[in-house]
């Protein structure tokens, strides 16, 4: 798909967003300022009817998609929202990356990033919410993350379709000199009902673009929809089976040079000395560049740049973290849990008193490691720095931030920044970060007038990520005389992702504030427990941590659903029935579990050596329940045979995409549960590449059966919610099969092979 050439229209962070609250313009109607950005991208004979829709005179329709396509199918699902109301076939639509403009701000991501926005939490931490809101306002910009794309676009993009349709109908009525009431839109044409004549939208688009229309056009009733809710083939797939899809790393520009880097392996270390002359005579080498954390070689091919940078003599000042280790980090977690009260995110009843009084207390400590994102497409960014402008081609999830940092580093006016976002070869949160654009523009500044494509090797990627935080949790639980949970205490120590991320963007904003991501999946578990205390103990670390698919849920679900299973076995109850007993007031959760029980044939026992585990978790507005069947032997050879997955994400837009995202989230979480661990020794990452940071492959991938169980609940996200439950479901299955309880991931650390 063609990429629009984007010109930055407005600098959002300095603009009205923070002070102006959350109001977003719909960008609907004729020539309002919200439409200007898209209008600026039109070609001859093409007209923008609003901020989302361009139609040309031959009837070709282009939809501006504010979110990046990184495999989640957003180009298709958001096009479906427009097509439903515009009355066009999906195949007549070409999705394109939207320009950078305030109208496309991801308000859902912004709201979700506020602590306690979902109403689950009642802890003392809410007093800090105002400060968090301020930071979230800065971060919640035009971005792709938090499983928010469809939720954010749901109403505006359907409205955009409806309004464009009405504008076209009115235009046809004007041109034909007939009553608009006698005209209808169908399959890309306006039909005059009395005479039966019809013509393509293209015939009317120029007139339509000048028509003003009220923005209260009613949307179709759910029962009248013909597209939303029915699986549609993805629009991006044909070019992804023949090699023609263009990812960031594929960008090819006239006179382009290539850059490879060598980075200080220790976090926070800097370059002490280098000898650039040693490589300048190597084949193809154009220039060597030194920056704070490493060195780069620019050459006429990536291979030549990489070979040169590998032999470029450089010494590093390793700084204060040169002795940091995973062992020391976990010791710090333990020390923090012992000495720091922390911050409560839910505090109901009196859990501490109940636990102090109880005769029997179930206690457990859970651990989760750092994880890397390891997107298949290695990190890359291409930059062309001119005398007073900068142009960037980068697979990214955060256009506003990328453009802002390109502007800062190139030191050019905001309006002279151009950003292109091609396809992303995976994102998973990694491409929200600004490190690549900062590095690429810094390097390209040294070769002004020539585009420079910076590509990281896989080793660069694994060792210089912003990692999923490691975390440690201490649980205590008690049961009452009927075997139900009486008290539940969970204290989690981890670094704050939001704090670490914010510090990278805005060093002055670094402060200890409540962070929803530290408590999500821990404070908002779906179970009714009279005495419940969940506290987070902030443990800032020198290791940069970032947003990794499902963020805090990714480890908190493992902790909470593992311990929930321990409580069930302590109560001598069936783990699924035990969960059902504790969620009786939450019908959506019960419905998912009941469905899961039925489809997984839960009540039929498995033979010796096999086990079934269950986990239930809500995240990003969707409830996902999973039952896993495993086979395990005494040599700890484990096979994850089958995963049953039931999801309630409310209204479904593209059912096959929801299924694909469930499969994807499960396998992503399973790779982490089986193999995923980033360890720190001497201040640096031990792992280097896929052999020591392994993934599930075809041979150890389970069969996955997904069931959609939409209730009447509001639209939920689907990109992340399948990831959290898989790890606890697997360890719960291991316990069912072997009575061995695993409280630390990955399983490979405990001798399991898959």
């Amino acid at each position: 798909m063609a990429l629009m050439k984007l010109t930055r229209r407005k600098f959002l962070i300095a603009g009205g967003l923070v002070g102006g609250g959350l109001a977003i313009g719909f960008g609907l109607g004729d020539d309002g300022p919200e439409n200007a950005a898209l209008q600026a991208t039109t070609s001859s004979g093409e007209f923008a009817l609003n901020a989302w829709i361009k139609i040309n005179q031959s009837g070709a329709i282009t939809i501006a998609i504010p979110q990046a396509e990184m495999g989640q199918g957003v180009y298709t699902s958001l096009s479906m929202l427009v097509a439903e109301e515009l009355e066009v076939d999906l195949t007549s639509i070409t999705p394109e990356m939207a320009p950078l403009a305030p109208v496309y701000v991801n308000a859902t991501a912004l709201m979700d990033s506020l602590p306690f926005s979902d109403g689950h939490h009642n802890g003392e931490a809410t007093v800090g919410a105002w400060g968090m809101r301020k930071v979230a306002g800065m971060l919640g910009v035009q971005a792709t993350g938090g499983s928010t794309s469809v939720r954010n676009a749901w109403e505006p993009m359907q409205k955009a379709g409806a309004m464009a349709r009405e504008m076209l109908i009115k235009a046809a009525a004007l041109q034909w000199n007939v009553s608009a009431d006698d005209c209808a839109a169908s399959n890309g044409k306006i039909i005059h009902k009395s005479s039966g004549k019809s013509a393509s939208y293209g015939e009317f688009v120029e007139t339509a673009s000048r028509i003003e229309i009220p923005d209260d056009i009613p949307l179709k009733a759910a029962s009248a929809r013909t597209m939303i809710g029915k699986s549609q083939p993805r629009l991006d797939i044909p070019e992804k089976v023949n090699g023609s899809a263009v990812y960031g790393v594929d960008i090819d520009l006239p006179n382009m040079a290539y850059a490879a880097v060598k980075l200080c392996p220790v976090f926070g270390g800097t370059v002490a000395s280098w000898d650039e002359n040693a490589v300048l005579k190597m084949p193809g080498v154009i220039k060597a560049v030194r920056f704070e954390t490493g060195v780069a070689v620019i050459a006429d091919s990536f291979w030549r740049a990489k070979k040169a940078v590998e032999v470029l003599p450089v010494t590093f000042d390793e700084g204060a973290n040169a002795e940091l280790s995973s062992k020391a980090i976990f010791a710090k977690f333990e020390q923090q849990l012992a000495s720091d009260e922390g911050r409560s995110y839910i505090d109901e009843g009196d859990a501490l008193e109940q636990i102090a009084q109880a005769n029997t207390v179930v206690s457990a400590t859970y651990k989760a490691p750092f994880l890397a994102h390891a997107c298949m497409e290695p990190m890359n960014c291409t930059a062309l720095v001119g005398e007073n402008d900068v142009e960037v081609w980068m697979p990214n999830q955060a256009q506003t931030l990328i453009a802002w940092f390109a502007e800062k580093v190139a030191d050019v006016p905001a309006e002279n920044v151009k950003l292109h976002t091609p396809y992303l070869g995976g994102g998973f949160g990694r491409r929200l970060e600004i490190d690549l654009v900062v590095m690429a523009v810094s390097i390209a500044k040294e070769l002004k007038g020539r585009p420079v494509k910076l590509i990281w090797t896989r080793e660069n990627d694994v060792q210089h990520d912003m990692y999923r935080p490691a975390a440690l949790a201490n649980f205590k639980g008690t049961l009452n005389s009927s075997g139900d949970i009486d008290a539940w205490q969970n204290r989690v120590a981890s670094p704050s992702v939001t704090r670490s991320f914010t510090k990278r963007m805005l060093p002055w904003a670094d402060s200890d504030m409540p962070d929803n991501t530290t408590a999500e999946g821990a404070a908002d578990i779906p179970y009714k427990i009279s005495n419940m205390l969940m506290e987070h103990v902030p443990t800032p670390l020198e290791i940069p941590v970032g947003y990794w698919r499902s963020v805090g849920h990714s480890y908190n679900a493992f902790f909470s659903e593992g311990f929930m299973d321990e409580m069930a076995w302590a109560a001598k109850k069936d783990p699924l029935a035990f969960r059902l007993d504790h969620i009786s007031e939450h019908k959506d959760f019960s419905a998912v579990l009941q469905k899961l029980k039925e489809v997984s044939d839960w009540s039929t026992p498995l033979p010796e050596g096999r086990g079934r585990g269950v986990a239930l978790h809500e995240s990003f507005g969707s409830i996902v329940g999973q039952v896993v069947e495993i086979t395990v032997n005494k040599d700890k050879e484990i096979s994850v045979d089958k995963v049953f997955c039931v999801v309630d994400c409310g209204t479904v837009v593209n059912p096959d995409t929801v299924k694909a995202q469930m499969e994807s989230g499960i396998i992503f979480g399973l790779s982490a549960a089986l193999f995923g661990e980033i360890t720190i020794e001497k201040g640096r990452v031990v792992q280097e590449n896929f052999p020591d940071y392994d993934m599930v492959r075809l041979n150890n991938c389970p069969e996955i059966e997904v069931h959609l169980a939409p209730s009447g609940r509001p639209l939920g996200g689907v990109g992340e919610p399948a990831t959290p439950p898989i790890a606890p479901a697997v360890v719960n299955a291991i316990f069912a099969a072997t009575k061995t309880r695993i409280r630390e991931l990955p399983l490979s650390k405990h001798g399991y092979t898959a």
Binding site: G71, R234, E377, A660, F668
Partner: protein, 152 residues
Amino acid sequence: MLSLTINGKKTTVDVEEDTPLLWVLRDTVKLTGTKFGCGIAACGACTVHLNGEPVRSCSVPISDAVGTEITTIEGISDNKLTAVQEAWIDEQVPQCGYCQSGMIMAATAYLKDNPSPTDEGIDEAVTNICRCGSYPRIRKAIHRAAKQMAEA
């Protein structure tokens, strides 16, 4: 100057003999459908065919490719999609799609020698990494392609 045959066309390239085939394809010949994933033959994103056999091009020095028939994702079909590519669309396999060129090249080579695929055979032959987890659909697509090829 090294002489190569890529997708049936002869071409010459001026690169060091140790340059991996991957980077010659991507940076010199500008065939970017073949992807860089790990650089050490661990992920399979760079899979191409040499004389019909699958190889991981990031770890094949260009000197080893001289005198062979090199086939990339761009060269497996003329104007029409192959049965494997069609099956990939029918099963809606790709998500981010980055690994899929390599997957399709590995699957195509496997099916050429194994017209009746088995799950075990697929597991052994297609060891590429897909970070999006499209594996269940890849398996279905390979079986579907085999069926279609048998009927054709």
